[in-house]
Symmetry: C2
Subunit: 473 residues, 2 copies
């Protein structure tokens, strides 16, 4: 890499600068975070420079620097998690270390190092093994590390430094200062909340799925004019559709954010015990849906030159378009329901019902009428697309249910759905519906829905997910 940079010094510098700018522009919180770390470090360095403080802490002040460097993380949750882990690990190990040192001293000048060595071996091995437990690994890995470190340091250095309690006091208070500095800066200067990030990731993942499904019909059902289409716009459109691919691999970042979020105090719209685990459930349902879209995506741009296939594709076009775009719309509403933390509005269900109605239409098309030719082979890809689309509607229903559960757990606000006017007539017999403002919000009508009716309906939906009986057409 160095050799490459030397070969093309200017080009290299340019692209590095560009990358730095891009990195900062993509997420300006990164720049702020870097400045915050610089600030925290400069602040604890004061411990050294300021004579009264230095006289109090002495060489132990390095522990404040060390603490800041090691525990200051990008999100508040991660910083808190590391800080608390470090604090607890140090306290526990410090106490145990002093005890071990005292116990070992009973064995005399020669016995003491042997006993201490044995303790260090035992605790280090046991603690290291405990880090293999997935639960401990997820939440307390750093604490266990600090435990081993502190125990070794205290029990071993106690053997030399006679004033062990004073040392422990100095070290603890400097660690406390370092930790408190980090937590303070992390909490009060442009905080980056793991919980909020998780919330946003889940919303954006569902939106990516919605984008794909809304755009799918347009991409899949293009027969002619392929040459006439502006290349650039096609490319841009396709690449915006492909955004769903990141959903396939977002599991680990979701999990670590949920873990950090559980350490965070109340912030913004999120209470201390916000149901972060439910977000993971929704995330994994969204990923299931993304797997299905991944299969679906394999059938885009498969050329169809066989006549029978084109005929068949035209027959299913309307229903498939409807299934896909209605599921997409439902997902978009669900995403915005999480975003605004309101219960999923009736209109999301209406879209699912529309999709289910389109499935029934599609099924009718498939059941009857067709079969001018016996060439099943040519239509298999299209039949597969139908099948996957039907499965996607089931996934969307599962996502709806999981979001309704989230609504209960996180006490989402009750619904004030905005439904487009052509749907509102369909809804009038389905609950206590009071059209409040008509025409005031552009082409939207705001409708109040009784909460109990809402719940009753959602259970009905849960029971019979896709047999078409809940369609209101």
């Amino acid at each position: 890499m160095l050799a490459m940079a030397a070969d093309q010094p200017k080009l290299g510098a340019m692209s590095v600068m560009e990358r730095i700018v891009k990195l900062g522009r993509d997420d300006p919180r990164r720049i702020i975070h870097s400045l915050k770390v610089g600030l925290a470090l400069t602040f604890v360095s004061l411990l050294y420079y300021w004579r009264p403080l230095y006289d109090g802490f002495g060489i132990a002040a390095i522990w404040a620097v060390l603490t800041v460097v090691v525990i200051f993380e990008f999100t508040v949750g991660a910083t808190l998690s590391k800080g608390l882990n470090r604090g607890l690990g140090t306290l526990l190990a410090g106490a145990l270390g002093v005890g071990a040192q005292h116990f070992a001293s009973l064995f005399g000048q020669i016995g003491e190092p042997i006993v201490l060595g044995f303790f260090v071996f035992l605790l280090a091995a046991a603690s290291t093994f405990s880090r293999f437990f997935p639960r401990i690994k997820a939440r307390y890995d750093y604490g266990v590390l600090i435990f081993i470190l502190t125990f070794s340091l205290v029990s071993v250095s106690g053997y030399r430094v006679e004033k062990i309690l004073e040392l422990a006091h100095q070290r603890l208070s400097t660690i406390l200062i370092g930790g408190a500095t980090c937590i303070f800066i992390s909490l009060f200067i442009c905080p980056v909340w793991a919980g909020e990030s998780l919330h946003n990731i889940i919303v954006s993942n569902i939106e990516k799925l919605a984008n794909y499904l809304e755009g799918f019909g347009g991409e899949y059902f293009r027969y002619e004019d392929r040459e006439n289409v502006d290349e650039d716009s096609t490319h841009n459109k396709s690449s915006s559709l492909q955004a769903y691919k990141t959903v396939l691999t977002s599991q680990s970042s979701e999990e670590s954010l949920a873990n950090f979020a559980s350490w965070e105090p109340r912030h913004g719209k999120f209470s201390f015990r916000h149901p972060w685990k439910q977000y993971l459930k929704i995330g994994s349902l969204a990923r299931q849906c993304a797997y299905q879209i991944e299969s679906l995506n394999g059938y885009i741009n498969v050329p169809t030159d066989i006549q029978v296939a084109i005929q068949f594709r035209r027959r299913i076009e309307e229903s498939c378009n409807a299934i896909s775009s209605e599921s997409g719309k439902a997902l978009r509403i669900l995403a915005s329901s999480i975003k605004t933390m309101t219960n999923p509005s009736l209109s999301s269900k209406t879209h699912i019902e529309n999709a289910t109605a389109a499935i029934d239409e599609l099924k009718n098309t498939l059941k009857t009428g067709y079969m001018e030719s016996s060439d099943l082979l040519g239509i298999i890809p299209d039949a597969t697309v139908c099948c996957i689309l039907i499965d996607i509607v089931k996934s969307v229903e599962k996502i709806l249910e999981a979001i309704e559960e989230l609504g209960v757990l996180a006490s989402f606000k009750s619904v004030e759905p905005t439904v487009s006017p052509e749907k509102s007539t369909q809804l009038l017999h389905r609950g206590i519906v009071n059209p409040l403002f008509d025409g005031e919000c552009g082409d939207h009508v705001v409708i109040m829905v009784d909460n109990e009716v809402e719940v009753g309906k959602s259970q009905g939906l849960e029971g019979k997910p896709s047999n078409g009986e809940m369609v209101c057409k």
Copy 2:
């Protein structure tokens, strides 16, 4: 958790013990690793106890303990990566820190802390920002952390401790002792190689896919006797089939193992510059195939009570069984080809060719003959299964190609394939084939194949993956 444990002390203790035993039994290397960490820590503690050493190093000996606790990781590669990162980060930051301290001293008693504070702020912010680059994050994250830490410590403590070079020397040598201890123990006592682990994970992932595909036919094509089947055996069989699910989410562990593996020296069958990136490519192709299997899996146990569907299923059964089991066999041979580091034998291609032949048969079945009824709906799930199976064969071909590339990159041994006799006649016209031992290896015939012919064939296969022209039937 503590409250829970107090409620059911005996039960809790039992299950904790069971879990510990299970964790150790699942992977005994975990126990050995824990003992190795204990050993390393006890060893560096000697620095304290042994007076001649202590007189040389003084309080700086704590850095040896700290180094061991922080850099001793499970795999050799991770330990080396952390150790080298720590070493380089410390050296670079130490030199810079001394320079900064010297430069700052030019500004007099009052100017010095201000200039130093400015340097600390600048370098801490810049280094923290650099950690957001994915490349630096992946390989040098820990080094940058240590860089910030050491720079702050050196430039700041230099202000107090006059004998800065002596201190640096002490600290470096203790870090060196700690690091060398870890690396020595990690390398020479039951080493756990990241490279070998990656190799094994890729092999086992491909085997899991093979298991699924070999078992798929038996699971999918069961019409009657569902009640008569022994429940337990069904359950066991299904759960062994479901093993492929772990392949869906193995990306991050594969990537980190590949990263650590690139730090490892020659070990066992793997050279220093073994093409670990190609393993990642194979891994991601295997994951693509796992996504397809995930779709396929959705159609198992979907009841078929419609007569027309059962009729259709019986028609496609033979071809689908063949496609699935032949792809499975091909994958199993490919897995063992990676395992033994030999070029993929001809028989893997034969199995793919058999699968392709079965696809052609299936296509013929679908093209002609069928259509006693016009109920397309009933047969859609089966048609989808056909379509996915055809796609899976394409994925298997891609995996084969990637493994052949790996064979070239890692100079796999040349082929001595074992082919079952009924296939060998088909192969006789396809290369320079010398039957050597007949009947000696049970029902197998060993065949020597000229390497060049081998390569030529694989390229042909690349060009036309699934149009049936490479089938020799």
